[in-house]
């Protein structure tokens, strides 16, 4: 038996996507740029997938740029704002130093890219977040954010749903603040939303309300039961993007390289399913999450809930995503629990590798140190005993009882033998 609860890390490819990929690989293998009919058919598949993804976030096909995944999409957005004249001016060569505001709980794909820009002269500031002892752990402090909007800021980048603790950020409000600031000050600050953990799971509609002013959204297929190696960037003005990969001019010259047709087709299949089932899926995930959380609270003492306890299926800021639950089993080590559970066929992850302990977290020097738990002020004991459950609609609520039982045994065993530590 296998109970896979690491769906925030990656997911099983759905059979619809796998079939579409197989078909694309064995039948439509021509280069979409080729003049002949076979090439045209491949191009049609890419076009169709692009449309499905665009439709799923309420935009047009022309605003979707395929990338190798969420990381590349994030890099493309950040580097574009630094190098291209679409922001503060300065052309291809970085002009006057620009500033980037990123939240204190970003994924490495954003903070490491920001660090790289800092080495090229950019000023990078981290927007503070609410701490572990509040009702909204990990949510950005909006009033602090407002005060950080200085003249040199060119981009604000926020992770919509924290990959480690699931907190949903107030992207509508941030968007409103940025656009108000822009119109009052004649500024041109861009807003980038990293939606790796939320795309297809919580509704994002860039054609609706305040999200209309979002400039970039990064998406990834493999978090959504699609294949690895494919993602996309939504850009409100794709022409102003600054390419990082040069070559045959695919993706409007923004991202050269022969299109990953199988990946794109698989991604399209996921987008289609997500569009149709988004609410039902979120409700299902929430049922699993609730069952797991309530069971653990009842069965296992000394558990700290790192995520906001309540999940929202509509994306309410400050709540948790229904797909993520981060818990700390005090007096244990997450890594050991992971191995103990894997013996029973249960796969979860530590929310924080050992390297995330406060002494080196958030330094950005260590690739493992995400610093999310450190950023919310969690103690070493909390960080060390952390497990992250990544839920999906492929999980069954009944499975959770087995997980709770095995977890209880593992925690009890550890607490007995490791008690003197």
């Amino acid at each position: 038996m296998r109970i896979y609860l690491d769906n925030c890390a990656s997911t099983q490819v759905s059979s619809e996507a796998a079939k579409a990929i197989y078909f694309a690989m064995t039948e439509n293998y021509a280069n979409p740029s080729a003049l002949h009919l076979a090439g045209q058919e491949a191009e049609r598949l890419v076009k169709q997938a692009r449309h499905q993804i665009a439709f799923s976030i309420g935009t047009k096909s022309g605003n979707i740029i395929f990338t190798s995944g969420g990381t590349e999409a994030n890099n493309l957005a950040l580097f574009s704002c630094f190098y291209s004249d679409s922001c503060d001016g300065g052309g291809d060569i970085p002009g006057k130093p620009k500033a980037l505001l990123i939240s204190a709980v970003e994924h490495p794909a954003v903070y490491a890219a920001a660090d790289a820009l800092a080495r090229r002269g950019a000023r990078v500031e981290r927007i503070p977040v609410f701490g572990a002892d509040t009702d909204f752990p990990g949510m950005v402090d909006v009033s602090a954010f407002r005060a950080m909007l200085a003249d040199d800021v060119s981009l604000v980048s926020v992770l919509h749903v924290s990959n480690e603790i699931g907190t949903i950020q107030p992207i509508e409000e941030l968007s409103r603040i940025v656009s108000l600031h822009n119109s009052e000050n004649g500024a041109n600050i861009r807003l980038h939303v990293d939606a790796a953990q939320s795309y297809g799971k919580l509704g994002i509609d860039v054609d609706n309300g305040d999200l209309r002013r979002v400039d970039f959204v990064s998406m990834s297929a493999h978090k959504l039961h699609g294949p690895k190696g494919i993602g996309a960037l939504y850009a409100a003005s794709p022409a102003k993007l600054h390419p990082m990969v040069f070559g045959g001019g695919q993706e409007g010259g923004v991202r050269s390289g022969t299109e990953n047709v199988p990946g794109i087709v698989g991604f399209g299949a996921c987008a289609r399913i997500a569009s149709a089932e988004i609410v039902a899926h979120a409700k299902h995930a929430n049922t699993c999450r609730r069952r797991l959380l309530d069971g653990i609270k009842a069965e296992i003492p000394h558990v700290h809930i790192n995520s906001p306890e309540d999940a929202s299926i509509t994306g309410k800021p400050g709540c948790s995503s229904p797909y993520i639950l981060s818990l700390s089993f005090l007096g244990t080590r997450g890594e050991v629990l992971v191995h103990e559970l894997e013996k029973s066929g249960i796969f979860v992850s530590t929310g924080a590798a050992c390297a995330t302990l406060s002494k080196n977290a958030g330094s950005g020097k260590n690739g493992n140190a995400s610093g999310v738990l450190a950023a919310v002020g969690a103690s070493d004991e909390v960080m060390e005993g952390t497990l992250r459950f990544g839920i999906s609609w492929t999980n069954v609520p009944d499975e959770m009882d087995f997980v709770i039982d095995r977890l209880k045994k593992a925690v009890t065993r550890f607490r007995r033998t490791g008690s003197y530590r």
Binding site: R333, V336, V338, H339, E340, R416, T417, G418, Y420
Partner: protein, 425 residues
């Protein structure tokens, strides 16, 4: 003129052996045949041969484009002092020797380093040739066949003259005191060898000539080096690895397998016995004083390793212990651990400095694997303040808290977790 590419293999210490010399030579040849083996995909469809004649081992019949690969393999064989890529001339007359010497020098000057990446192999210092001024050289004549009409200096003079004449003074110049290129012309009874480079091997004694030992392979930097050093003296190696799964990661076990694979490129086939020591750790943690945990667990490891060793026909245990390196490797700590072992424990690293061990680990290519950050011994059971001067009586008293029967039962339990991995080249 009939020229063949060959590899000359010289043995060091074996040459000093008296009556037993044939025994060591045979062991070495057997090992050399194995590493260039015909069952090897890289060697196919060639059938390399190894011949021991007139005090040198000559390897022939390997694919010429893989000369360096084969040389490197031979250099990993213990007992090999050095290897030289050479030309072998079947005809034995001075004209052919001259012609071959000129051609060899031509090639050397064209290629720079003679086509060999000598730097990475550690040479006798013959420098890469890549300047525009004339290159200095010296010919060394060597006459193993004393029936040859010319003496060694005469051979050298004639060959040197021919090279100078053919290449011209703008390209080469004789320097007898510190030449860039040392060209050897070696006249033997059945052939002539021409070569100029010597790649240093590790020396030591051929594998399998000095008993069998079981190394306690932790996954750290030291124990693979300890195993390697004993193998270098001819000892056949087998290994035992203790893990604490699920308290340690399965990836840590993969790392130990990777280390065994590297060791196998020197030591041949290595059997690794993987054992889960967790039952013993848990029981000791519950019953005994925390600060003695490390020593207590090490004693259990040594006892279990001895059982494995005796079953597998190993007469020794080998550890990477190094005096004073960590709390458990104090003189007292080692002494108390040693008392638990019924077999002699070999500690080749005992008096080395850590930096020297690390250098050796880099040289034998285990270092990069060893430093991967997986825990080899679970820190859950690591005491905050380990006892650094354990007394045998106190430790034995702590073991008494569990009782010898219980400890023996735990050892049985650990023995039952055994999984075997066989590393092979």
């Amino acid at each position: 003129m009939d020229i063949q590419n060959v590899l000359i293999v010289r043995y060091g210490e074996i040459a000093l052996k008296g009556m037993n010399r044939p025994y060591f030579e045979k062991a070495l040849i057997r090992r050399l045949r194995r590493v260039i083996g015909s069952g090897d995909a890289a060697a196919r469809p060639f059938a390399p041969t190894v011949e021991n004649a007139e005090g040198l081992i000559i390897v022939r019949g390997y694919p010429q484009d893989k000369e360096l690969t084969f040389a490197k393999r031979l250099l990993r064989v213990f007992g090999v002092a050095s290897v030289s890529p050479a030309w072998e001339l079947a005809s034995r007359n001075q004209e052919d020797v001259n012609e071959a010497a000129v051609a060899w020098m031509e090639r050397r000057l064209d290629d720079g380093a003679g086509g060999l990446d000598a730097g990475s192999l550690g040479t006798d210092g013959s420098a890469t040739v890549c300047t525009d001024r004339p290159h200095t050289f010296k010919v060394f004549g060597k006459r193993a066949d004393k029936s040859w009409p010319l003496t060694s200096p005469e051979i050298a003079a004639l060959t040197g003259e021919a090279v100078l004449e053919a290449l011209g003074e703008s390209r080469v110049k004789v320097d007898v005191s510190d030449p860039e290129i040392r060209l050897y012309v070696h006249l033997r009874r059945k052939n002539v060898l021409v070569y100029d480079d010597m790649l240093k091997g590790f020396g030591g004694l051929p594998l399998g000539t000095n008993g069998k030992g079981l190394v306690l392979l932790s996954g750290g930097i030291d124990s693979p080096v300890a195993a390697w050093m004993m193998a270098k003296r001819g000892m056949t190696i087998e290994a035992v690895h203790f893990h604490s799964y699920p308290y340690t990661s399965k990836r840590a076990e993969e790392k130990v397998k990777d280390l065994a694979d590297v060791l196998a490129s020197y030591c041949g086939r290595i059997k690794v016995h993987m054992l889960n020591i967790l039952p013993a750790q848990e029981a000791l943690a519950e019953a005994c004083p925390e600060e003695e945990m490390t020593v207590l667990v090490r004693r259990v490891m040594v006892r279990i390793a001895s059982r494995v060793a005796e079953r597998e026909g190993c007469a020794f245990l080998i550890t990477g212990e190094n005096l004073g390196q960590v709390a458990s490797q104090t003189a007292e700590g080692i002494a108390v651990t040693d008392r638990a072992s019924p077999l002699p424990v070999l500690r080749p690293l005992i008096a080395m400095d850590k930096v020297d061990i690390m250098d050796r680990a880099r040289e034998i290519e285990t270092y990069e694997i060893s430093i991967q950050p997986y825990e080899d011994c679970c820190t859950v059971f690591l005491p905050k303040h380990p006892v650094t001067r354990p007394a045998a009586a106190a430790i034995e008293a702590s073991e008494g808290l569990l009782g010898q029967d219980r400890i023996a039962a735990l050892e049985d339990e650990v023995m039952e977790t055994e999984e075997v991995y066989v590393a092979n080249v």
